[in-house]
């Protein structure tokens, strides 16, 4: 069941990169409303604007124009630091290349967003989250001491530990073999279900997209198709 207030409400979003003369229109008028608790796949060929849309929706990049409300916060009116503050505890991000902090252990990586959000019991919550992704025995390991699949599990734990209502995953299996990738997707969906969060996955993989309730296909910076699978 979804609540009346959408997790994401985007109106006519555009994103133009580069200087005048060599400017590229990456997003050209995106209208997208995502209800809370929905799972959504963003499909599209390379260069279609998937990652850029995710960057804008997560507040990592400001749209050039348009209106964007995420979890009730007006992202289009915020500067970079306000966007960072708004992300805390609200948005979790899982990246294709994991991007764990190499100088920190698995536990410390997961604790960091909790501490940035000023949440209490950061250590206990991080330990519990790592145990939930099956890495309770790897708490003190550094990223370099973990396999690719394990690193991505840490990244999922890190994204979900603050219990964000909105989770983004950018090609979460792109750097993994098929078997490991499947396990990671299962885990991601399972953890999302437990948390009741909205999940947006960016992928090339139609099979992965099929697992989502809704599939939005991008082409040339526009929404080419928007289908509901269930």
């Amino acid at each position: 069941m979804t609540s009346p207030l959408p997790a994401i409400d985007a109106r006519n979003l555009t994103l133009t990169l580069g200087e005048a003369g060599s400017a590229v229109d990456v997003l050209r008028g995106i209208d997208l409303t995502v209800p809370q608790g929905q799972t959504l796949a963003l499909l599209g060929p390379s260069g279609s604007g998937k990652s850029s849309l995710m960057a804008v929706l997560t507040g990592l990049e400001r749209a050039t124009s348009g209106q964007l409300t995420v979890a009730g916060a007006d992202f289009s009116a915020m500067d970079e630091d306000a966007l960072a503050t708004a992300r805390r505890g609200r948005i979790g991000v899982v990246l294709q290349a994991f991007h764990l902090l190499p100088t920190m252990t698995a536990l410390e990586n997961v604790m960091t967003p909790l501490e940035l959000a000023g949440m209490p019991d950061a250590r206990a919550r991080a330990e519990a989250e790592l145990a939930a992704v099956g890495l309770g025995h790897r708490l003190a390991h550094y990223p370099a001491q973990l396999s690719g699949g394990e690193q991505q599990r840490v990244a999922i734990a890190r994204a979900l530990a603050p219990r964000p209502p909105l989770v983004f995953a950018d090609e979460p299996t792109g750097n993994l073999d098929a078997a490991t990738g499947a396990g990671i997707v299962d885990l991601l969906f399972a953890r999302r279900a437990e948390a009741g969060a909205t999940l947006i996955i960016i992928t090339h993989d139609p099979a992965l997209a099929e697992r989502c309730e809704r599939v939005v296909t991008l082409a040339d910076g526009r929404i080419a198709r928007d289908t509901t699978t269930t």
């Binding site: 990652s51 850029s52 960057a55 997560t58 990592l60 990049e61 970079e80 630091d81 960072a84 503050t85 992300r87 805390r88 505890g89 991000v93 990246l95 290349a97 991007h99 764990l100 902090l101 190499p102 100088t103 920190m104 410390e108 960091t112 967003p113 501490e115 940035l116 959000a117 000023g118 890190r158 950018d170």
Partner: protein, 837 residues
């Protein structure tokens, strides 16, 4: 924004326990702060010793000394009115024991000596003046004469018993340079030994311990007023050892410059180190931003990391500075006026630490403030070009840091102009090198693309986005300049030691040859060493009382300040008279007087002093000689070859001006080659007991040793700056290597051989080094010239082939470092290297 505690939690977690990535910052601060701590501690300890122990060093509150006479009854009475008085004599003498003879400094003291402190003997006794017929002797005299306590020695015609060997003489430092170890005797000894006959070269000294309320300066003023033509040299406890203070001040200035230079170079290293560290943390910054960190959080987290490394480097530097001070004091050895052991000077340490932190602020603020703007999007778009630097953000912290450095440099500085000049010069150099880096980049953009692919890449590496050209130019410029600086200073100092201490000098100087026995003296020398040449000159002492045009002469006692380089106006100077122009002198203005001249008394003066005092031929000069004023007309100026070790007098009078005053002669003896020397010394000492015979060879060795020690001290201090330079050089190369790793791996994947990649490095660094060699040469020699000529007043005599060879070595070192830094990457398999990217 997160709080400081949370920021520290994340910062500490992200910081390598061994400060990986921040080691250049750590090393640079360690060197810079360590150098300043050691310098501050050492000069502080010496300054404190000189000022707090001034009374003990002087042996009283006021010292009055006068040449060739004792104080008159009226003068003594004036001294006694001021407080307790101790009087005595100082003179050069020969001491004999059996067949052995040695020149000594005879110090005759009355029973009140010492007014402050006590003399300590080696046997542990704490004593005052020796009893009549007894002497305390320095260890050097005991060694040279082969005598110990209880033995007898002779001085002049007097035989004395050694009462003890001196361990610590309280007023040694204020006695100044002596041509032999000290022998302390009873006040009456010189007269009984026949050493104070009229004309003999001796000095009477009176120390006054003032009543508690009296002001030494007022007493000095009053004595000057009461006895204007007495020829008194007056000193107060505040300037107990002016020679030592001058040396310490000059060395202190140099050391402060070395410290500041080390800090500026360290600052470049800090800037480079912080910049490359944050560049390497770009991914972490982006990840933290993805996780919700604001730019303020990023600034806090990395500020704390940098501060932790800075504090660690500074604390280690402070500890090293304190520990190295006794070693530095030992290296400076006898150059230091006082022994300096292990000391803690909180102000010096605080100052060094503050300097370190301020320099770290100035150089670390720009990259730190730029890093907080690293975009989170860096994770999504592969390597992006570095952000355009937002230099405005850094203006405030940099300006505050610079203001702090300037203020801290000026606190307690004796030469604020020099310090400001140096800081201004350093800033100008940084701008110059920055401009050069920009120019090289701009030129590389505009040059036509070479057809040879590696050359093309080497050229584009100089200007591509993220190129380290600016940092490399600054680091290589300073690093190579440091090599040149060291070579130029060292070769100049070596050449000075060679040229300043004459290679050919007389074999003996003899003081106090009685005038009426001059012929007998010559005959004795001729008999002992046939073919020896003997030159004698009349030797008198007198002070300059007034000079200038006859109608408006300037009185020295009324001058507020003695002009720079007018040292002959201070105290008494050696005077002589001669019918002929002294050997080696050239008349540059006026005329020499004719033989048998008998008119108005005339004088010929050193042209340099004439220039300093603005004297003209025809002006007058009034001297105080044995308490009597004599005035002579200036007849000529002379150019004197000061480097020749002969009789060089600033003031030479016409014979009729001085010949009637009681005086003795000074003599120089040149022996024919292969003459046995021992016999001459013994014969002269036996036949002329009141004369002092000085073997020049020993004095020259002493002078060379002293200069070598000065040279060693200067080089040791300058090495700190060079070490910092090398650290910066290595850091810059390492940072540049990190940014090349990606390119090199890709080039290898594309089929470039190791040799080709090495060639690429060689081309790039060779190009930069070639451009910077000229800059480094100008920079290094310019600074070396300032140190050698302006600061230490030595001659500028660098050995250019060695300077060029050292620069060549520095260039080779740069290339070797650069190539060596690439080797691990070149050895790795491309696939493995790709995984590690």
């Amino acid at each position: 924004m997160i709080g400081w505690t949370a920021a520290w939690t994340i910062a500490r977690r992200d910081l390598s326990a061994r400060f990986r990535g921040l080691r250049l910052l750590l090393v640079c601060l360690f060197l810079g702060v360590g150098a300043l701590a050691a310098i501050g501690t050492l000069t502080g300890a010496i300054g404190k010793e000189l000022s707090t122990r001034g009374r003990a060093i002087l042996g009283g509150d006021v010292e009055v000394s006068v040449w060739q006479r004792s104080a008159t009854d009226a003068e003594r009475a004036a001294f006694a009115r001021q407080g307790q008085v101790s009087g005595g004599y100082r003179m050069q003498a020969m001491a004999r024991a059996g067949d052995l003879a040695a020149p000594v400094e005879l110090k005759a003291v009355d029973s009140a000596w010492p007014l402050v402190d006590r003399l300590t003997l080696k046997d542990g006794r704490s004593v005052g003046a020796p009893a009549e017929g007894e002497v305390w002797i320095a260890q050097g005299a005991a060694d040279r004469l082969g005598v110990g306590p209880g033995a007898a020695l002779s001085i002049g015609t007097l035989t004395l018993k050694v009462g003890g060997i001196i361990a610590d003489e309280p007023d040694r430092l204020s006695e100044g340079f002596a041509l032999g170890p000290v022998v302390i005797a009873h006040q009456d000894a010189p007269a009984k030994a026949g050493l104070t006959a009229p004309g003999a070269m001796y000095r009477a000294k009176y120390r006054i311990a003032l009543t508690a309320s009296a002001d030494p300066e007022q007493v000095v003023g009053s004595l000057k007023q009461q006895f204007p033509s007495s020829g008194f040299e007056l000193r107060t406890r505040d300037r107990a050892a002016p020679g030592a203070e001058r040396f310490v001040a000059r060395m202190g200035d140099f050391l402060i410059l070395v410290g500041l230079a080390a800090l500026v170079i360290a600052g470049i290293g800090i800037g480079g180190g912080v910049s490359s560290y944050l560049e390497a943390r770009r991914g972490a910054v982006a990840t933290l931003k993805v996780l919700g960190a604001t730019s303020g959080d990023i600034a806090r987290i990395y500020l704390l990391q940098i501060a932790a490394a800075a504090v660690a480097g500074s604390v280690a530097g402070l500890a090293a500075g304190v520990l190295v001070t006794p070693l530095l004091a030992k290296a400076l050895g006898q150059l230091l006026p006082v022994a300096s052991g292990f000391t803690l000077d909180p102000w010096a340490l605080l100052r060094a630490a503050l300097f370190g932190l301020l320099v770290a602020t100035v150089f670390a603020a720009p990259p730190l403030l730029a890093a907080r703007r690293f975009p989170a999007m860096a994770l999504f778009r592969a390597r992006v070009a570095p952000l355009a630097s937002r230099w405005r953000d850094a203006v405030l912290p940099v300006a505050l840091g610079v203001a702090g450095i300037v203020a801290l440099s000026l606190i307690g500085s004796r030469q604020p102009e020099m310090v400001l000049g140096f800081l201004g010069g350093a800033a100008a150099l940084l701008l110059l090198l920055g401009g050069l880096g920009w120019t090289i980049r701009a030129l590389a953009v505009r040059l036509p693309r070479p057809e040879q692919p590696l050359l093309r890449i080497a050229l584009s590496n100089l200007h591509r986005p993220g190129a380290q050209t600016g940092a490399l130019v600054t680091a290589l410029g300073f690093g190579l300049a440091a090599f040149v600086l060291l070579a130029a200073i060292q070769t100049s100092l070596d050449a000075n030691i060679q040229s300043r201490v004459p290679q050919r000098a007389p074999d003996y100087f003899v003081l106090d040859v009685p005038r009426d026995r001059a012929d007998e003296f010559r005959q004795t020398v001729e008999r002992e060493a046939p073919g020896a040449t003997v030159r004698t000159v009349p030797a008198l002492r007198g002070s300059i009382l007034a000079y200038g045009p006859a109608e408006q002469m300037i009185r020295v006692s009324e001058m507020k300040e003695i002009p720079e380089n007018a040292w002959p106006l201070r105290g008494e100077r050696g005077l002589t008279y001669s019918a002929d122009i002294p050997e080696g002198n050239v008349i540059t203005a006026g005329q020499w007087w004719p033989k048998d001249y008998s008119g108005e008394p005339l004088v010929s003066i050193d042209e340099r002093l004439a220039d300093v005092l603005d004297l003209k031929v025809g002006d007058q000069l009034t001297i105080g000689l044995l308490g009597v004023e004599r005035t002579a007309k200036i007849a000529s100026f002379r150019r004197i070859d000061w480097d020749s070790l002969g009789f060089n007098y600033v003031f030479v009078f016409s014979p009729n001006a001085l010949a009637d005053a009681p005086h003795n002669l000074a003599a120089m003896i040149d022996l024919p080659k292969d003459t046995q020397r021992g016999g001459m010394l013994r014969t002269l000492v036996r036949n002329f007991p009141s004369s002092s015979v000085i073997e020049v060879g020993g004095v020259l060795t002493q002078a060379r040793d002293l200069l070598r020690q000065v040279s060693l001290a200067i080089l040791a201090a300058a090495s700190v700056a060079v070490l910092a330079g090398i650290a910066v050089l290595l850091g810059a190369i390492a940072a540049a290597r990190a940014s090349r790793t990606y390119d090199n791996v890709i080039l290898r994947v594309l089929g470039a051989s190791r040799r080709q990649l090495l060639g690429l490095q060689l081309a790039e660094y060779g190009l930069l080094a070639a451009v910077l060699a000229g800059v480094a040469l100008a920079l290094g020699t310019g600074t070396a010239w300032l140190v050698v000529v302006k600061l230490f007043e030595f001659d500028w005599l660098p050995n250019w082939p060695i300077v060029f060879a050292t620069l060549g070595m520095g260039l080779a070192l740069v290339i070797v470092f650069a190539l060596a830094a690439s080797l691990p990457l070149l050895r790795a398999k491309p696939a493995r290297a790709l995984r590690e990217l």
